[in-house]
Symmetry: C2
Subunit: 310 residues, 2 copies
């Protein structure tokens, strides 16, 4: 999640230019058995494992049938709760939300790998850096070590991930070496990485690093801080009414606006408790369910995409 | 907290037998400026840092003036929140609740020291063992390493501890080597360790390991699973009306009975969300405040004791 090509995804209207290989071969939609102009949507909840509030809301979203996929933060304190749920519900589409930052001020976490093996990833107190800035020097080898540790813990605790993605998009936004680390790991575990064709123009290393068999979705939509609370539903409704053909991933953040979530996110409102409650309200609403039907949107999962790609 | 000499502390009525040194020198109460038969009480909240719910309730308890002291779990996810509070409130009596077990099933934590430096302390997934059993082999050198790491993180993040104690009493109940590890560290940092004269009879290594200058309180009271919820207040009221002379430490566990706390403790009721809400209700009540006055109880802190011992 977060701020990736913020303006582009906010405007939504960018049309991807088909590449030579795209026009010559079947589109992802066609490979899934749909028409070339079908509108396929993955409704994807991020940040599972972060708090109990996030877990509880995301499980409700998934069980409503309107949220089709989610990804889990292995280093977080509530990972055991969601791992237990994933193990008991192998039919639910869970990926791993690979996490190398601890983001929040009053509630924090650190690496799964031994801290002394990943010194560039932690601050002086042993937590993941809150975020990466221009002065944070990250060692791509340590990134790879930590990603493997996260995947191994998930597998050991019964999660069978369908895909990988990246908390705060750190693995995609921070240069070729770090992106290649995640690709190495993804190829090793035979898992697709969340990657969007619309991102290639701004960061050419993304496309050049990928191999021909890597899965690429067409578009993504995520709400950004510019949207006032009273325009929340309008934003999503407009996005759904203006979908482009192909596979679009809606990246959403679900939680209950309760004491735990308010405390965990209290240093700023963005992606905070109220934000996440608004996402929860919209994506479990009758309004959203009706729009999906009216717009002839096909809700799909990462598992279906990955299966098709093989 | 937990089950230490459960029956003895539950019965409460054991009278300590004064040792030669005690009769020859001033008692702890006298050294604090009170009469030899004065009834001094530390009302001590355990487990701060465990959840936001525990932090919020414990801060309310401390700010009521009726809870006089508390101790903090450094490895826990909400440690940064309570460290921030401790740093901003240096007048509040905080110790460190040294933690080597993760206790709960769906919400867990691991060591502060690099995991590969303390292999005997962690399970196959890298978390602290839920608890230590007879088959858990714990390396006392690793215990010492981890305790230093917890104290160093606390100091680095602005906590100025007045004392040390032990989550689930693991450091006291598991033999001489492990108890000596905590004493080494306590002496190095010049901090008193929670130690009760009433415990010596059952575990002689506790007394024999201590040096003459180590602080020892007289009695402790903690509620145990045998007490039904409707008898909660009676238990504490009886204990307060039957206090022995000297320093008695009430070990209590405060939290709000909310979604986070219920989820974090849902695998069993003992020391669960409702238990902790009952403790909170009693120790912030007018009933308790009145009893303290009527019984001529002096509420004291670990800081006062430690200052006196010097």
């Amino acid at each position: 999640m977060r701020k990736f090509l913020g303006i582009t995804v906010f405007l939504l209207a960018t049309t991807s230019i088909p590449t030579q290989s795209q026009t010559a071969t079947k589109s992802l939609a066609e490979r899934l058995g749909y028409a070339r102009d079908a509108k396929l949507v993955i409704v994807h909840a991020d940040d599972l494992g972060m708090t109990h509030s996030v877990n509880a809301a995301s499980i409700k979203g998934l069980e409503s049938g309107l949220v089709t996929s989610a990804s889990i933060m292995v280093p977080c304190p509530w990972f055991p709760e969601i791992a237990d749920y994933a193990k008991a519900h192998p039919e639910v589409d869970f990926g791993l939300h690979l996490t190398l930052t601890s983001e929040r001020v009053f509630y924090r976490w650190g690496p799964v790998a031994p801290e002394d093996k990943v010194p560039s990833l932690v601050d002086s107190n042993g937590y993941f850096h809150l975020n990466w800035t221009e002065t944070t020097r990250i060692d791509a080898k340590e990134v790879e070590l930590e990603l493997r540790a996260q995947i191994e813990r998930a597998l050991a605790m019964g999660v069978r991930p369908t895909h990988l993605d990246s908390h705060q998009y750190r693995l995609f936004e921070n240069g070729k070496d770090i992106f290649q680390s995640v690709l190495h790991v993804a190829h090793e575990y035979k898992l697709p990485v969340f990657m969007v064709r619309d991102w290639f123009a701004e960061r050419p290393y993304l496309e050049s690093s990928m191999s021909p068999n890597d899965l690429v979705v067409d578009h993504t939509v995520t709400i950004e801080p510019g949207v006032p609370p009273e325009k929340w539903n309008d934003f999503y409704t407009t996005a759904l009414k203006n979908l482009q053909p192909g596979v679009t991933v809606f990246i959403i953040h679900l939680a209950i606006d309760d004491e735990e979530m308010r405390a965990a996110t209290r240093e700023r409102d963005t992606w905070g408790a109220a934000w996440r409650q608004r996402d929860f309200n919209y994506f479990t609403s009758a309004e959203f369910r009706t729009l999906v039907r009216e717009q002839n949107i096909k809700l799909v999962t990462w598992g279906e995409l990955a299966h098709t790609a093989k």
